[in-house]
Subunit: 216 residues, 3 copies
């Protein structure tokens, strides 16, 4: 029984979610910036620094998601379906979680060198983070920004395809050229975490589209 | 507070879910048919064709799941618990997702040859898909078809054990006989995706049983 | 629309959850005890026995979780938020699931020997299981035991860091010293399942903290 649908009409909506999602978008941009730096860092010390930064942003992302969940718990009327708010917050958080997994693997595995494809996917993840960040303030008036949010979702899907291309190139190159199997295993794992982060960004776009469809 | 339980008695149920689940079952059968063809394809061109087919069915499965979620959102009274409808749709979708992951890995990794166990697990996945497809129309009168649905769930569990046996055989054979470690890594990953697809089919059976238990 | 918040005041709470969570805690302790035995077993026969035990406890854990889900379905008023009860039951179950995955991988991969780090992480998992088990009865009067539950959560986080340290040591040692790449692959997978089990125990602590925050 969906009481939201009945009461939505009478009770004022809860606006506290919007600044939290905007904060989530900003943390995501920061995390993907650090990832770009990590993917092109010149020294082990610099790498360590960027890995620490990513871990910090990942924790900030957790805090934002948990604040959204707590708000969800105490809100009577939500601006979108409860479940979609939960999914959106979870998936934005998942992007950074997987970026952090990649960073932790770099720290733990100490690969001899990172292939070019890692830097390419990192750049795309920054673009994805920036697009998600751009969509967040538009949620305040999603009805009015419908066209703009749809366009952002399309751009996210285009970027996902581009990232998938680099991921495939990276994996193929490993299997064809990397004769040190331990290095192959390390880099395959690192690329896989980044690919998963990209997929989570695509999931964010899917959730945004769901929000728009339900508002139609 | 579970208002469903109070209102269920007074308000007509929503029947739109049934044709969607039936569509989901059919898509799953189609996807697993393509997987069998892929597992025994003679040429790289044929393999590419079946991989494309699987990707197409996987997208169709996503569309079906999203339609079920949208229906869930606008339905006042649902024939089963909201959460169980959500779980059932998600898990049916997960079976095809993991089959698609296996297919994409075959495309990306280009293993020299697929072991016999891949074909065996593919055959079992087709049988699992057929059983799930068979259960879907019975959900319309789940009370009357209780015995039949239970039997389908038992068959699914038997098939899962059989698939697990082939998966174990395949992995053991790789570690014992495959001296090309890159090939071992590729085939282990491909078998793991298929195994995950099988486990998701078993999760479908668990969800069906939950539905029946709650109706008792 | 959160009707729980309105009605919670008037309707008696459902206490059936507490003994189930306590049962879940006990099963977790039993499973982690078997894992310690497995990690130090002297013979293949003994290993098989402990792997079978773990599988048995994992199934018992599933039964407990499913009973909690069924109870959730028929309860009007729950002692904590519905979603949090669901999350808590799922995550306790996830700990044993991942321990079982590790055990099944040991059975399937037949590694030549288990590194010391497996035994160290197993010991920590037993301590984590014992802490979760200790927290369960305190949920009955969570308000009164707030301090104690918080302390348990802190201890869980300390143990997670310790486990992470051993996991990192184990992985580094594999990449540095294990010249048999097939063995490296096997042991990396086994360690990864145990690490995932530890992370799920940490997720249990996060859920417990969420419960306490919402009660504040």
């Amino acid at each position: 029984m969906n009481f939201d649908r009945i009461l939505k009409v009478f009770v004022p909506k809860e606006y506290a979610f919007f600044p939290m999602f905007e904060e989530g978008g900003r943390v995501l941009v920061s995390g993907t910036e650090s990832l770009i730096k990590l993917s092109t860092a010149g020294t082990a010390d610099m790498m360590d620094q960027y890995i620490t930064e990513i871990k910090k942003f990942e924790k900030e992302g957790d805090v934002v998601a948990n604040r959204i969940f707590a708000q969800l718990n105490k809100s009577f009327i939500t601006p979108f379906d409860r479940e979609d708010i939960h999914t959106l917050a979870t998936r934005i958080d998942d992007v950074l979680d997987n970026i952090n997994t990649a960073a932790q693997r770099i720290k733990l595995y100490k690969p001899k060198k990172l292939p070019q494809e890692v830097a390419e996917v990192a750049k795309i993840l920054f673009q994805l983070g920036s697009l998600i960040n751009k969509a967040m303030p538009e949620l305040r008036h999603a009805d009015k920004h419908r066209e703009s949010i749809y366009r952002i979702c399309e751009e996210i899907h285009e970027l996902e395809k581009k990232a998938d291309h680099y991921y495939s190139l990276g994996i193929s190159a490993l299997f064809e050229n990397e004769k040190d199997i331990a290095e192959l295993i390390k880099l395959k794992d690192i690329l896989a975490s980044l690919e998963k982060a990209v997929n989570k960004a695509e999931d964010v776009a899917d959730t945004l589209r769901t929000l728009l469809i339900k508002m139609a």
